[in-house]
């Protein structure tokens, strides 16, 4: 990650709404995901960065430029800085794309290139059309496009100006599930090819994992955790983050002993071994977080295997979830596992069946009650 290019520190409150705080937000190159449930303030933060909303106070700096600066609510107007969106050289893609309904695909994409000479403009648009495979749709109006095509036109319109920062608000949310899954991979590739610093808002943790280099978790209008995408999801900083990142199994337990960096935790009658490195030394009561993807199921307990946690388990429920199967197990507590369809068939899983769940120690996350 090549340094931080955008720093933001501001608050914004709509009349009657919650206060949204960008608390020392630092964003580097690559793709940064603002992740949170609806109402967590992620779209408001993105719109403030775009210049479409004006924060009540704070500052936004991008590279060497100051985009926004205002301190205190009722101070003299001198010293206030607000760069309007047209001065920020950003590419913005809103959730519903907002393609200009009266303009063709070509005119939509070329809208932001007005300052270029006509030949250069035509070339740039043609290049972008080709890059996104939109050549045959040039003369269509937005309403004649499928959802996926609209998404690509919106992206094309934003990137054709070669913006310095790309802001995407739930870029895949308006699409149906199969299209969304298909475009998720495609979008990541496109964004990689572009190499433009990108901030992307999503409420979908799979999307966050799939698209983000960095993830900023937002909760109740504040950023509560920031880090590399896999780290944030596998090591939620506190219970609020764990709930947002939707770790499927969250149990309460207490620490029996800590030795050599390993903690023994009691959850009901079951003992689990976990890493103790992030725990405060005095921690006793903890939440135990286990992500469904991390649970391994085996039929017969093997004598020797690397995972430290071997839990006898009974299958309580099986449910399909896209290409995966969600298995609810009883190990003295309720544990959720996510398996592929084929793994389920191989194991011939059925309700009431007895087997073993394996968990490596780093995959049992302990969050002390104090947070």
């Amino acid at each position: 990650m090549n340094g931080k290019i955008l720093t933001a520190n501001f608050r914004k409150q709509f009349p009657g709404g919650p206060e949204i705080v960008a608390d020392d937000l630092r964003i580097g190159g690559g793709i940064t995901v603002l992740f949170g449930a609806s109402g967590s303030g992620k779209t408001t933060i993105l719109r403030c960065l775009a210049g479409l909303e004006i924060p009540d106070e704070g500052e936004i700096k991008f590279g060497g430029e100051s985009w926004f600066q205002k301190s205190g609510k009722r101070q003299a107007a001198s010293g206030h800085i607000f760069a309007p969106p047209q001065k920020r050289r950003i590419g913005f893609v809103p959730q519903d794309y907002a393609l200009f309904p009266h303009l063709s695909v070509v005119d939509n994409i070329g809208y932001g290139l007005k300052e270029l000479p006509a030949t250069e403009r035509t070339l740039r648009v043609a290049e972008t059309l080709h890059w996104l495979g939109l050549e045959d749709l040039e003369m269509r109006l937005p309403r004649e496009l499928s959802g996926g095509q609209q998404q690509r036109v919106a992206l094309a319109r934003a990137v054709v100006r070669r913006p310095k920062l790309l802001l995407l608000d739930e870029p895949l949310a308006a699409l149906d599930t199969p299209t969304r899954l298909r475009l998720r991979g495609e979008l990541r590739q496109l964004l990689r090819q572009l190499g433009i610093p990108t901030i992307l808002v999503t409420h979908d943790r799979f999307e966050a994992l799939a698209l983000g280099d960095e993830v900023v978790v937002l909760h109740a209008g504040r950023n509560v955790q920031q880090g590399a995408a896999p780290d944030v999801f596998s090591q939620p900083a506190n219970l609020a983050v764990a709930e947002i990142t939707a770790v499927e199994t969250i149990l309460s337990g207490h620490i029996l002993a800590t030795l050599n960096g390993l903690a023994t935790v009691a959850v009901g009658a079951t003992r689990l071994i976990a890493l103790a490195k992030d725990l405060p030394p005095a921690a006793r009561a903890v939440y135990v977080c286990i992500r469904a993807e991390d649970v391994i199921l085996i039929r017969n307990d093997v004598i020797q295997s690397s995972p430290r946690n071997h839990l006898p388990a009974t299958v309580r429920e099986l449910g399909r979830e896209g290409p995966l199967v969600r298995v609810t197990l009883d190990c003295g507590f309720s544990l959720i596992a996510l398996l592929t369809q084929s793994a389920c068939e191989e194991l011939a899983l059925q309700k009431g069946e007895q087997l073993f769940a394996l968990l490596k120690t780093p995959q049992v996350h302990l969050i002390s009650f104090a947070g």
Partner: protein, 221 residues
């Protein structure tokens, strides 16, 4: 139709069209200002703009007469600086028609602007467009139907204007007499055939204008 009748229709159409030219820039600016911005005194301006809709036209005419007469606020200035007289000339006709039809136009255009989702304007700004470009390439094209419908309605209203016109422009045959004034005059003089011919022409133009304007408003993009 006789030559005089043709002349009357032509003159009235010309006057209505000229008043439209006056209304369009002022009305569009006003409508946009009312639809998109909040400013102190907005309610007052809203009321003033709509006042000619409910005020007796003769009263509006009287006010215009005050304003544009040789001793009026605007009239005296026009007379001394531009040597231009308004009252009882074709200019007075245009001003009366404009004042009477501006409210209709502003109302229609304002509604049309309010129906344009601001998200398109915001997006245009993120693409580097300034306020003028946003207005002419996004707001106005998307509000096109409503604005056109409003234009037609104002035009029809202008053609039928009687009270304010007769106050400020009088009834000078061939110089300030418009269709409605001529119809009134014809009835006064007992020239029923003449009156009915002119009434027929008025009705046809009014019908066409309202018909097209309704059609524009019904059809959605």
């Amino acid at each position: 139709m006789s030559g005089v009748e043709w002349q009357l229709v032509g003159f009235s159409l010309r006057m209505a069209l000229t008043s439209l030219l006056l209304i369009l820039p002022v009305g569009l600016a006003l409508a946009w200002w009312l639809a998109r911005k909040n400013w102190p005194g907005k309610a007052l301006v809203e009321t003033l703009v709509s006042l000619p809709l409910v005020l007796p036209p003769v009263v509006t005419g009287l006010l215009l007469l005050q304003l544009f007469g040789r001793r009026g606020l605007v009239g005296s200035w026009l007379h001394s600086t531009l040597d231009c007289d308004v009252v009882f000339t074709w200019r007075a006709v245009v001003i009366a028609l404009a004042a009477m039809s501006l409210p209709l136009f502003v109302r229609a255009a304002r509604t049309a602007f309010e129906e344009v989702d601001v998200k398109f304007e915001q997006l245009a700004r993120t693409l580097g467009a300034g306020e003028w470009r946003v207005f002419f390439t996004i707001t106005l094209p998307l509000a096109k139907r409503g604005v056109l419908a409003g234009t037609l309605l104002s035009f029809a209203r202008a053609l039928g204007e009687f009270g304010a016109t007769i106050m400020v422009a009088g009834n000078i045959p061939g110089r300030t007499t418009t269709l409605p004034v001529a119809i009134y005059q014809a009835v006064e003089n007992g020239e029923d055939a003449h009156a009915w011919t002119l009434a027929g022409v008025s009705a046809v133009i009014a019908f066409a204008a309202v018909f097209i304007s309704e059609k524009l408003l019904r059809r959605k993009t």
